[in-house]
Amino acid sequence: MMGSPYSLPRRAKAALAIIAAVLVLAPLVTNNYIISVLTMSLYYAYVGQAWNIMFGFAGLLSLGHALFIGIGSYASAALFVHFGIGPWAGIFLAVPLAVAVGCFIGFLGFRFAISGVYFALLTIAFAEFTRIIFDHVAWLGATEGLFLPVSSRTRIDLPNLRGPSEMFYYVILTLTFLALGICRWLMNSKLGYCWRAIRDDPEAAAATGVDVFWCRMAAVAVSCAASGVAGVWYAFYYNNLFPEIAFDIGKSVELTFAPIVGGVGSLCGPIVGAFLLYPLGELITGATQGLGIEGIKQFGWGIAVVSIVLLRPSGVWPWLAQILLPDRRCHAAAP
């Protein structure tokens, strides 16, 4: 079918179905280590998609996205630890909180015309001072950390999200595909067209009738909501939260790698990037473990990432899509 570049041809749909089937069946045939690698790849794919909504779709650079994930984590964890309220109900606090903070930053940025890298600085500033505030909130564990009780690692307790690693794997797998579906739907909607117009030229978009302020706020809200959900999952997967880890700027930067390497603004880019980078990091760890040289992993991983970005500056996925889907007449935006 012709038309939107965000509609997938049949072959791509078939490939996607096969990949989905492999991922669904993976826990049956692999060991715990592979599961944990796949789980973290999916986590980075998911948060990469959330970040990509703001930067890739609407052109808003956030370098403080750990903030929204961290807020989601702390909100759901606090409800669970202090009141015994499970994560599914906790989402209803975690997501509105993350969205509210995001929209506040967005309002400041868009109302006072703080754009580009200055907007990115604003997001960093908010993440940093949230970290410092959380360091002093005893109710949330302060610097000592907030710990979620673990009763059993074998019994599956889905309502409280307590259970074996396979359960967490399936939850994040579902979230990743859900995010993909939502992003695809958004990009084929009026909002998606308006986002891309704003990303390319906000003034021309406004002159063409696009409500730039509202569309940007919508991008922030959707991205922060998705990040808040990621935070809930993260809290219950790791069972411990420390402000200097949850709100660390390194974390905010780290989650931008998958979409940047995979292809900013594309639907599958963050997923492809995550499944390339995280396993690559693990492979390098495995290969360099015996050497006993400190920092060699980061060094090797850094060289690998820089090489990929130099070779495929617009991302791995747009290049891959061109090879896999050569009949596409438009490559302005790969799916």
Binding site: P5, Y193, C194, A206, A207, T208, G209, C330, A332
Partner: protein, 243 residues
Amino acid sequence: MSAAPLLSLRGVFKRFRGLAAVTDVSFDIPRGAIVALIGPNGAGKTTVFNLIAGMLRPDAGEIALEGASLVGKRADVICKSGIGRTFQIVRPFNGMTVEENVMVGALARTSDIATARRHALELLELLELGDRRLAAVQSITLPDRKRLEVARALATRPKLLLLDEVMAGLRPTEIDRMLGVFRRLNATTGVTILLIEHVMRAVMALSQHIIVLHHGEVIATGSPEEVKKHRAVLDSYLGEEAL
């Protein structure tokens, strides 16, 4: 000039620091007319467009569309109230295809993607861009991009179309085709056109009324014949050879 004008400017001023870009500009654009805004470089023509379209706010004065003030309104609100514009230096959405560029304009009037795509296709056909519709914007020529600007502005279903030098850089045959398009549009849809243009052949052939701007002030208005003979216009812009 009859009845209430579609657009009216009354005593509009705009200064950029020390520079008076627009000084006490007043004019009316009658509904259904094709009016040209001419004048030497730096006369303030594009500034007048930016004031009308809401990219700039006047320091003083009144700008009204169908009697409703536009001053202080956002550009997207002004677009939706019925003013479509093109940019002198083309500003297409570079990450989108030709068709998608026009669809963004069409989406100002509908939320349905299929409807927007149909409307975009009609306009692309009208502007002879139909066969380029799936092309990336960077891959099309400058004249095509100028036509794309027009299609995108038209897609917002304007009552008033502001054209900022859409003929510049076009070959004479291409100018004739564009003239044909605008005449047809004006005749069939009744869209009012205000155009900035340096190509005098196009201005004289197309417009019923001309406003001449010099140093931010209106120095002459009238029919093409009247303006061509106007002393101040000849001195400041057209030159004696225009006679």
